[in-house]
């Protein structure tokens, strides 16, 4: 009877354990909060949540971006951090190229009191993840999602490390006009914001320049064959001077093989999605294809140091420009932290919004006065002898770029 009013050994253990955990949680919370805020130039760690598509259809863009970013973080931390006091702590989670999984991963990362969120290199999963960051007041930047609707759909905390698709479409349209091309055919796909909107931006810019779009085709990503589409292009008489498509691998190789196989010789204009060795490996079939991207991936000039460092870390050469843009994401974050002199999400967001002329590897990067897409030069590449050849770099006037609308 006397024992009835005494707590059992198990109960005492639970209570004790709970108390210990509560104290531990509180002290841990205190520490993290100090580290995260780290205001007034105090040393602290910037916790970067990285929701990256390490597997799935977007892995081709996110994996090299992460490699570049991690290389930058390692170099910065080896030097004692940004300004010798702000170290970088990466927390990486795989979103599996899925929008729902991107939201789940973003929620997990935001729960770990991150100061900065990196989202996948495409608008759809980035919107899913970015909306949570927006609510939490944490700045979010997409690896290289180039659809300009991305920041519009999310809000003022959402940015992209990429130029806008409207800007790259303008560069392609201007090239076509300068070359004297009068007619164009566009081929898009409703399966993603990237493949869906780019042909429309091109059409708007090309027609504003006086050109005519004589046909608009659509494909499903991953479809078995492009024979029907090629037959439709062949049926256009006279043949279009230029064919513009945002299709990327594995669809672009299939399309251009079918196109050239059918004897269609119109100039083909592509976008940054085809800046990969797969396109170059198409040899004669891809000869003369032009596309817009962030820069020329070549072991020379400013990129030579990047090649050396990348090779030392990963034991191979970078395969795509996305490894460079990932590193540049780090360089831009470095500029924001330097300006903020803080590890807090709010200070980094304010600094990021006002960044201007950050010297990246491919050129200067700005956000000030823009639409939260990176204001950066766009390289127009021509494939010659299975190699990337720079045709020119362009910075289209924002006033003449087609406007993005939700």
């Amino acid at each position: 009877m006397k024992y009835k009013n005494r707590p059992s050994l198990v109960m005492k253990s639970i209570v004790s354990l709970s108390a210990v955990m509560l104290v531990a949680a509180c002290s841990s919370g205190d520490t993290e909060s100090t580290e995260a805020s780290g205001g007034s130039g105090e040393a602290c760690a910037v916790k970067v949540g990285i929701a990256s598509s390490q597997t799935g259809s977007l892995a081709y863009i996110d994996v090299p971006n992460l490699e570049g970013f991690e290389m930058w973080a390692e170099q910065v931390n080896a030097a004692g951090g940004v300004d010798g006091k702000f170290t970088i702590e990466n927390v990486v989670k795989d979103t599996r190229s899925d929008a729902a999984q991107s939201a789940t991963v973003a929620a997990e990362l935001l729960g770990q009191e991150i100061s900065f969120l990196i989202t996948p290199g495409d608008a759809d999963p980035s919107i899913a993840a970015g909306q949570l960051a927006q609510d939490a007041g944490v700045p979010a930047v997409s690896w290289f999602g180039s659809s300009p609707i991305l920041p519009l759909a999310v809000g003022d905390r959402m940015f992209s490390n990429a130029f806008g698709d409207n800007a790259q479409a303008k560069v392609l349209a201007d090239y076509a006009t300068d070359k004297g091309f009068k007619t164009a055919y566009t081929l898009g796909s409703p399966d993603s914001a990237y493949t869906n909107l780019l042909p429309g931006f091109f059409k708007e810019a090309f027609e504003a320049n006086g050109g005519t779009v004589v046909g608009e085709g659509q494909f499903s990503m991953g479809q078995a064959s492009f024979s029907v589409i090629v037959d439709q292009i062949k049926a256009i008489s006279p043949a279009p001077d230029v064919i513009m498509t945002p299709a990327y691998e594995p669809d672009f190789p299939t399309f251009i093989k079918a196109l050239r196989g059918a004897g269609v010789t119109s100039v083909v204009l592509g976008t940054d999605g085809i800046d990969s060795p797969t396109t170059l490996a198409l040899a004669d079939i891809a000869e003369g294809v032009l596309y817009t991207t962030a820069g020329v991936l070549k072991n020379e000039g400013k990129m030579a140091t990047f090649y050396t460092d990348y090779n030392a870390k990963y034991g191979k050469d970078p395969e795509t420009i996305y490894a460079v843009t990932g590193y540049e994401m780090g360089m831009t974050l470095e500029a924001a932290i330097k300006s903020a002199q803080s590890c807090s999400a709010e200070a980094i967001w304010q600094a990021w919004t006002n960044l201007e002329g950050v010297q990246g590897i491919t050129g200067p990067i700005s956000y000030k006065g823009g639409d939260r897409m990176a204001i950066r030069e766009i390289a127009l590449i021509e494939i010659k002898n299975s190699e990337r050849t720079l045709f020119g770099t362009f910075a289209p006037d924002p006033a003449t770029v087609p406007k993005a609308q939700l």
């Binding site: 659509q218 196989g261 060795p277 795509t320």
Partner: protein
């Protein structure tokens, strides 16, 4: 007329590939009652082996042969390693196992090879076209049609004339009868996977040659199409698999050819709506068996 010729060529070309894929699924379903969703990854594996063969300097025909055999052997190994241990488990367990194998192989391809697609250099003669009347047909399509039809004719003889062909057909009707015929279930199941893998290998080669590249996720769309084809034809029906392949390809190509541009974004939705309409008329597929269960 030109558009009709193109239509027929495209339907036969795509339909043959779909039929081979669906037959691969149907053969395994016949003996194990399983839709093997890792079938697409066998195609992908075939693509990588083809690429390796070409990069190692093998003649194209030899690289193709090695790739197809690799598909068959891998399927048999898949059966031994993944499906045999759960053979007597429920259908749901088998299905989950096939999804697990599929995802495992995808991740292995992504991390072991590259998340990026790899261009497969096919001989230059395959990238040109020939004129047929007013139409032009690409040599890849001619190869696709030829290989597809030869494979289907061979399979017809195989199922009609050979011991193992009869056994698989018998299993499709009633698996228990096969046991009464004195055929060991294990051997028959392994053989079915081997045959299924060879079919995935042939379809994989056709797919890769047509598309010009191989990537870790390449198998997803084809296996989904093959599943739909198998359902249209009647799950487990070998004739239905072939028939369903050509039905699906004729729907897809017709919509892509003649659908107005402003409705084109709804093409896949319309395709699946037509499939549902077919199934509402033939609930067990066109060649499927009506299943009645005693209360």
């Amino acid at each position: 007329m030109e558009s009709l010729i193109s239509y027929v060529v495209n339907v036969i070309s795509l339909g043959g590939t779909y039929a081979l894929l669906a037959l691969g699924l149907a053969v395994v379903f016949s003996v194990l009652g399983l839709i093997n969703f890792a079938h697409g990854e066998l195609m992908t594996l075939t693509g990588y082996v083809l690429l390796a063969g070409i990069l190692m300097g093998q003649p194209f025909w030899l690289a193709v042969l090695i790739a197809v055999i690799a598909g068959g052997v891998s399927a048999a190994l898949m059966e031994f390693a993944a499906f045999r241990p759960v053979r007597n488990a429920s259908g749901a367990t088998l299905l989950m196992t096939s999804f697990a194998v599929s995802m495992l192989l995808q991740v292995i391809f992504q991390n072991g090879i590259s998340p990026r697609g790899q261009a497969v250099p096919v001989p230059a003669w395959l990238t040109t076209s020939i004129s047929v009347g007013v139409s032009q047909i690409s040599k890849v399509q001619i190869m696709s049609i030829t290989v597809g039809l030869v494979a289907l004719i061979f399979l017809k003889f195989f199922f009609d004339r050979s011991y193992w062909g009869w056994a698989i057909k018998a299993a499709a009707n009633d698996f228990e009868i096969v046991g009464l015929m004195g055929i060991k279930a294990s051997r028959l199941i392994t053989f079915a996977f081997l045959l299924s893998g060879l079919l995935a290998g042939i379809a994989g080669v056709l797919w890769v040659v047509q598309r010009g590249s191989v990537d870790p996720l390449m198998g997803f769309k084809p296996v989904l199409a093959a599943f739909i084809v198998a359902v249209i034809g009647g799950l487990g029906s070998l004739t239905g698999a072939v028939f369903g392949g050509f039905i699906l390809s004729s729907i897809e190509i017709a919509l892509q050819t003649w659908l107005p541009a402003n409705v084109m974004p709804y093409r896949e939705a319309i395709t699946y709506t037509i499939v549902v309409l077919i199934l509402s008329v033939f609930p067990n597929g066109i060649f499927g068996k009506r299943v009645q269960e005693k209360v």
